[in-house]
């Protein structure tokens, strides 16, 4: 990892040709220049806006769910509305928000920059992916307006083939969104294969690229199975083909195999890019070389591959045969190992570092804490004896919120704050950023920790009402969710404020050594104005603080002595 600098010679378009202050945001105007842009940065920004909107929508449903549960029985809605609310919450959060989340929004923006490239390999496919996402989102929202669905995000047959509601519309939306995800995945693999600059071998890539690459593998290999699953589901519902519906001789457990063959790897589509973000952030904000680069890189690929071997752990009590159950339990533990490796490597990176509690770092630390709980509680579920008791209880709900909200969303927020100055050229208030992060952390734990307890004590999930002994836990959880919402609004406010009134950002505010920070903040249309100096992505020795810039600048690499 310790090699000299190489220059990518032919990348300079000459900063001279560019009017001062022109960047990718203002180089063209009008809605067409956005909607039909081929620029990965603009596509990334559009994705970011769309995805945050989805998060907001999903969050509204979450708050409705929580408010209903503040007391047993009817609080603000009837059972049917409640069922629709949690289904839409789960489906929106999964398919519209978190699966495209980090790869399509942050990944799109930073991936070519991390490579020192001008764009992704297939800009048109990239734009198509966004348009398809938009179509899918519109279909999903239309389905909500037409009455929604009450199947749960898992669409288990035969409930989903017999219930009323917009099942067909929603599943077709999922189908469409799947294509968007596949296109992103294809694009990223091709870009990483073909667009790496000379001198950037596989093991000189920033870890975010490894993470995105591993994610893309899953996207390409797993998503098509989701596509065929929902197509078969639609065919079952509309035509009655008899593959999944027991009333027609079909097998509902087979449906679960189909569903989880995609949806388990999908949780690693979510977490892998989050882990990539964390790897970048921990190193940057500790100003220290990442510990165990290769281990982290390999563990990403290992997680991607292992993630395909464990889907049956969602089916331990479904009527899956004990044989398969035992095999899946054993295999499930295999994913824990690479995850554990990453956690320990992050810790070792911080050891003897120069840690600065900037907002992205606060979120990153929060991630380690929350993902630690989320991952460790995964062990209770992977273990056969305990999962029998815990399956489909609030323990599972708490587990996956600790991994998805506490893990992925927190990492997403960390990434947004980290790359925000690059994306929009503005700094934000560290103080308020940190206050938001702490509120989110506190609210989150209050919301979901109590769910572990009630789950193991016997509270099933997807319950509109519940026995009175669980009321205290539900109340804590609901108040926690309000606090969490406040924290998120503070975070959103900080970012909005920065957009409107933030200080201009220097090119490299955090002192990161990856290539995107060599571009201006915000970058120009073609990303880099001068030659890109290719360096070790985690070597901070060449970066020094420049008080005038209020940012880090690179000294000539050769002059730096370690």
């Amino acid at each position: 990892m310790n090699t000299g600098a190489a220059t990518i010679a032919d990348r300079s378009n000459g900063a001279a040709g560019r009017p001062h202050g022109e960047n990718y945001l203002n180089c063209a105007s009008g809605w067409r220049s956005w909607l039909f842009t081929l620029d990965h940065k603009r596509i990334g920004v559009m994705y970011l806006a769309a995805i945050l909107f989805s998060f907001f929508l999903g969050g509204i449903f979450a708050l409705l769910v929580r408010t209903e549960l503040i007391s047993p029985g009817h609080t603000i809605m009837d059972a049917d509305s409640y069922n629709r609310a949690f289904t839409l919450h789960g489906a929106i959060m999964t398919f519209l928000f978190i699966i495209p989340g980090i790869p399509a929004a942050l990944g799109n923006f930073v991936l070519p920059l991390l490579l020192g490239a001008k764009d992704v390999a297939l800009p048109r496919l990239n734009l198509a992916s966004f348009h398809i996402y938009a179509i899918g989102a519109v279909m999903a929202v239309a389905a909500i307006l037409l009455g929604g669905v009450d199947t749960g995000w898992t669409f288990y047959t035969p409930y989903s083939t017999t219930t009323s509601g917009q099942v067909v519309m929603v599943t077709l939306a999922v189908f469409v969104l799947g294509f968007s995800s596949i296109f992103t995945g294809i694009n990223f693999i091709v870009t990483i294969h073909k667009m790496r600059p000379a001198g950037m071998g596989w093991f000189r890539m920033p870890l975010m690229l490894w993470a995105l690459y591993a994610t893309a593998i899953i996207q390409v290999l797993a998503t098509p199975v989701l596509a065929i699953t929902v197509l078969l589901l639609v065919a079952e519902r509309v035509l009655g083909i008899g593959v999944f519906d027991p009333a027609l001789g079909g097998d509902p457990v087979l449906f679960q195999h189909f569903f989880w063959f995609y949806s388990h790897p999908a949780v690693y589509i979510m977490i892998l890019p989050a882990m990539g973000v964390i790897s970048e952030l921990i190193s940057t904000h500790s100003r220290k070389t990442i510990f165990g680069y290769r281990a982290i890189a390999y563990s990403s690929i290992a997680i991607a591959v292992f993630s395909f071997l464990v889907w049956g752990h969602h089916m331990f009590v479904s009527g899956q045969s004990p044989l398969a159950t035992v095999i899946f339990s054993a295999l499930t533990f295999s994913v824990s190992i690479p995850s554990a490796v990453k956690v320990f490597n992050w810790l070792a990176t911080m050891y003897k570092g120069a840690i600065k509690l900037e907002t992205p770092m606060v979120y990153a630390l929060s991630f380690i804490f929350l993902f630690g709980i989320g991952g460790l509680t995964g062990l209770f579920l992977a273990t056969l004896a305990t999962d029998v008791h815990l399956h489909d209880s609030y323990f599972v709900v708490a587990h996956f919120h600790y991994t998805m909200m506490g893990g992925v969303v927190i990492a997403f927020l960390a990434g947004i704050f980290h790359w925000w100055p690059k994306m929009f050229g503005r700094l934000f208030s560290q103080k308020w950023g940190n206050i938001g992060a702490v509120l989110v952390f506190a609210g989150f734990n209050l919301t979901f920790f109590s769910q572990f307890v009630m789950g193991s004590k016997g509270m099933p999930r997807r319950y509109y009402s519940y026995p009175p002994e669980f009321e205290i836990y539900h109340q804590l959880s609901t108040y926690g969710s309000y606090l969490l919402a406040v924290g998120l609004f503070v975070a959103a406010g900080v970012l909005l404020h920065s957009l409107l009134a933030g200080r201009r950002a220097p090119a490299n505010p955090w002192g990161s050594a990856t290539l995107e920070w060599q571009a201006a903040s915000p970058p120009s249309h073609h990303n880099f104005d001068g030659p890109v100096i290719l360096t070790d992505p985690y070597d901070y020795s060449g970066l020094v603080w420049d008080a005038e810039e209020q940012g880090f600048v690179r000294t000539a690499h050769e002059e730096v002595v370690r």
């Binding site: 032919d10 070519p112 490239a117 001008k118 764009d119 992704v120 390999a121 297939l122 800009p123 496919l125 596949i182 995945g185 294809i186 694009n187 693999i189 091709v190 870009t191 294969h193 073909k194 667009m195 390409v220 290999l221 797993a222 998503t223 098509p224 199975v225 596509a227 065929i228 699953t229 197509l231 078969l232 065919a235 079952e236 035509l239 009655g240 083909i241 008899g242 593959v243 519906d245 027609l248 001789g249 079909g250 097998d251 087979l254 195999h257 189909f258 073609h526």
Partner: protein, 268 residues
């Protein structure tokens, strides 16, 4: 072959996108993307093959019985048609690489025609199934099946021909499997011996061939578009990426049929 320079459009058509350094890099990127797309297609059909395998392994009697309602001959002819179209497509790619433009157009046209032929034959088959109510799941007409077996039993052209050897074989399979009495069946034509849940076979048959048919249609649209461009003179020795990639897609469609044919039509 018309000379490359003769067409004024040609020069503009093989430009290098701004973010690539070389044409080779651009071509490689597009080709890799196409292969990855084919990977997703394989996995998507993989789901259907999974459903097929599951039901065939657990209910062989259904498949053994129901496949006799399909027309082997039409299936075989269609296989040949598709193989031939793959051949002409591969040849078309060669022609594109060599800059043989008129030949390229002709070969694409033949490929397209084969596509029509395939779908035409498929339509004949579907029509037959439709007439007799041999449809998916819920819509399978068991009552008509009884009539059909009683009436058409000996009509070799449209229905299963009596085949004592096959009967015996089926009986042996059934005995070996030792399934419940309700599902005892022979290969023959005694209406009383129809296995339960024959409709599941047709559910799978229609989904598999239907999805494949949609892919054929998509491939034909691609080839039609290639043909149009080729007639316009867009392709040449330095610009054949689209033909190459379109060809890959068409071959994949063929490849899947290569497996569908024996699995659906030639069950023993």
């Amino acid at each position: 072959m018309a000379s490359v320079a003769a067409n004024p459009r040609y020069e503009g058509k093989h430009h290098l996108a701004h973010h690539f350094d070389t044409r080779r890099q651009q071509f490689d990127s597009h080709k890799l993307a196409m292969w990855l797309f084919l990977v997703t297609e394989v996995l998507m059909f993989g789901g259907l093959f999974c459903a097929y395998t599951i039901y065939r392994a657990s209910h062989p009697e259904i498949f053994l019985f129901a496949h006799t309602l399909l027309d082997k001959n039409l299936g075989a002819v269609n296989t040949i048609v598709l193989l031939f179209s793959s051949f002409t497509m591969a040849w078309a790619v060669r022609a594109a690489m060599l800059g043989e433009r008129r030949r390229l157009s002709a070969l694409l046209a033949i490929t397209l025609l084969c596509g029509f032929g395939f779908l035409g034959i498929k339509a004949v088959e579907y029509n037959h199934k439709w007439q007799h109510g041999f449809l998916w799941g819920q819509h399978f007409a068991y009552a008509e099946l009884q009539d059909y077996l009683a009436g058409h039993g000996t009509d070799a052209a449209t229905g299963p021909a009596p085949d004592p050897a096959a009967d015996a074989h089926a009986a042996a399979v059934m005995a070996e499997l030792d399934l419940a009495a309700a599902v005892t069946v022979a290969h023959g034509h005694d209406p009383a011996l129809i296995p339960r849940n024959v409709h599941i076979f047709f559910g799978i048959y229609f989904v598999m061939t239907g999805l494949h048919g949609i892919h054929v249609l998509a491939g034909m649209i691609v080839i039609g578009w290639l043909l149009r461009r080729s007639l316009r003179g867009d392709f040449g020795t330095r610009n054949y990426t689209a033909v190459d990639l379109g060809g890959l897609y068409w071959h994949l469609v063929d490849l899947i049929w290569i497996f569908l044919f024996p699995l659906l039509y030639l069950i023993h």
